[in-house]
């Protein structure tokens, strides 16, 4: 749909090449990041050195943060970069330091059934995407109702320019309260699990 739009623009507009190139560039960047994500994920499967796996998972988080910027989700991007790539990697590294450095080899028989399950599930999911609204469609059901309402009402209701902040702290404040409860509970669970053995407190800690 949008491609047609761009070619139509190319036919009518005075300086069309630049826009088409710009669009192509942004699509190219997105496809590049997505391809790198897949490459990182796949190389994680085979690597048995857990330190390397932790590093790759940090790279994966950072790449997805870059992808979030490309998709206009700047708040999510910096949270993912700080929490996903930063805190999470530190947690995994300390987990590795306290357990094992290497993963034991897995025998072949154990890998076949998961592979089958994964391919069947993946096939079913790909089949279901045929009905999904196209990427970036403004009329998609996900973009039509509440989200549009938040965008329209935020200037009157909350007076915060960042709509994500407004929704997070005001419209869905109870969600955020629930989140805080979950994080608190998780921190408590970590302390209970590790507190008896680790003197001087939680290496596995909270965020």
């Amino acid at each position: 749909m949008s491609m047609i739009l761009f070619f139509a623009a190319a036919a009518s507009d005075a300086e069309p090449m630049m826009e088409v190139t710009g669009q192509a560039a942004s699509v190219a960047i997105e496809i590049l990041i997505l391809t790198l994500l897949v490459a990182t994920a796949v190389s994680m499967i085979r690597m048995r050195q857990l330190f390397g796996v932790a590093m790759l998972s940090g790279i994966y988080s950072l790449l997805s943060a870059a992808f979030f910027v490309a998709l206009d989700a700047v708040d999510v991007a910096f949270t993912e970069a700080a929490v996903g790539a930063g805190v999470s990697t530190v947690l995994v590294l300390s987990g590795i330091a306290l357990t094992a450095k290497r993963e034991m080899p897995v025998d072949r028989r154990r890998q076949l059934l998961p592979l089958l399950i994964v391919f069947v599930t993946g096939g079913a999911l790909v089949y279901s995407t045929i009905d999904m609204p196209a990427f970036g469609d403004p009329q998609a059901p996900a973009n039509a109702y509440v989200g549009a309402e938040y965008i329209a009402q935020t200037p009157q209701d909350v007076e915060v320019p960042n709509i994500v902040t407004a929704v997070l702290a005001s419209y869905r404040g109870f969600d955020t309260l629930g989140e805080t409860v979950v994080v608190f509970t998780a921190g408590l669970a970590c302390l209970l699990l590790l507190g008896t053995t680790l003197r001087g407190g939680g290496k596995g800690g909270r965020d």
Binding site: S26, T99, M104, T154
Partner: protein, 213 residues
């Protein structure tokens, strides 16, 4: 065909990532690696949500140009105002249609025009219905422009709701990862290993020992 693929490429990549994570969870015996696989799966779900919230030609959901202050209790909706909007949109139809990616710029121009015509009023307080009618009547142009008008906002923002949900999910995800890792650490302390096969073997041995006793 290419169009169809491009419109769904993101979904397929997300599915590939998701299945990679699921495969790691299923096939690996090491508990820490399983948790990393779970993280992989989780992040792919984040990417899926953000993909759904993307709007072509939209910008990050942060209000532009001091709208937060302007939006208060202004009322206008007379014929004059409507026709002003009409011409403003009409004039910039072409830039809307041809330039969805840089729409922010085009819209700013509209706002400037509008400010000259009727200072002190902001576009987005315009009566929605009127604007919609104008859009249908006068713009056979791009879907992007029409959608912007249908939503009653003149600047197209990406959907903020998935962003909020995923912000919450990221933090909660790290919290659960921390709990999982500390469980792994406890298991290591109790059994001396975090490999599922060995854990199972040790458990079976214990059972047998109990039977013998």
């Amino acid at each position: 065909m290419i169009e169809f693929i491009l419109a769904r490429y993101n979904y397929w990549i997300v599915i590939a990532l998701m299945m990679t994570g699921l495969y790691i969870v299923f096939s690996r015996g090491n508990l820490v690696k399983t948790l990393i696989g779970l993280n992989l799966f989780q992040t792919s779900v984040f990417i899926f949500y953000i993909t759904m919230g993307k709007v072509f030609g939209g910008t990050a959901p942060i209000l532009l140009g001091g709208h937060a202050e302007e939006g208060h209790g202004e009322e206008h909706g007379g014929d004059h105002a409507e026709s002003t909007h009409g011409t403003a949109y009409g004039e910039h139809e072409d830039s809307y249609a041809s330039d969805p990616l840089h729409e922010g710029g085009a819209v700013n121009t509209i706002e400037e025009t509008h400010a000259e015509l009727s200072p002190g009023e902001s576009l987005h307080t315009a009566p929605e219905g009127a604007v919609n009618e104008l859009a249908r009547a006068e713009t056979p142009a791009g879907d992007v422009a029409k959608a912007a008008l249908d939503h009653g906002t003149e600047i197209l923002y990406s959907n903020p709701l998935p962003h909020v949900l995923i912000l919450t999910a990221i933090v909660v995800g790290v919290a659960t990862t921390a709990v999982g890792l500390s469980l792994a650490v406890r298991i290591r302390e109790a059994y001396g290993t975090v490999e599922e096969d060995r854990l199972e073997a040790i458990d079976n041995q214990d059972d047998r020992a109990e039977v013998l006793v």
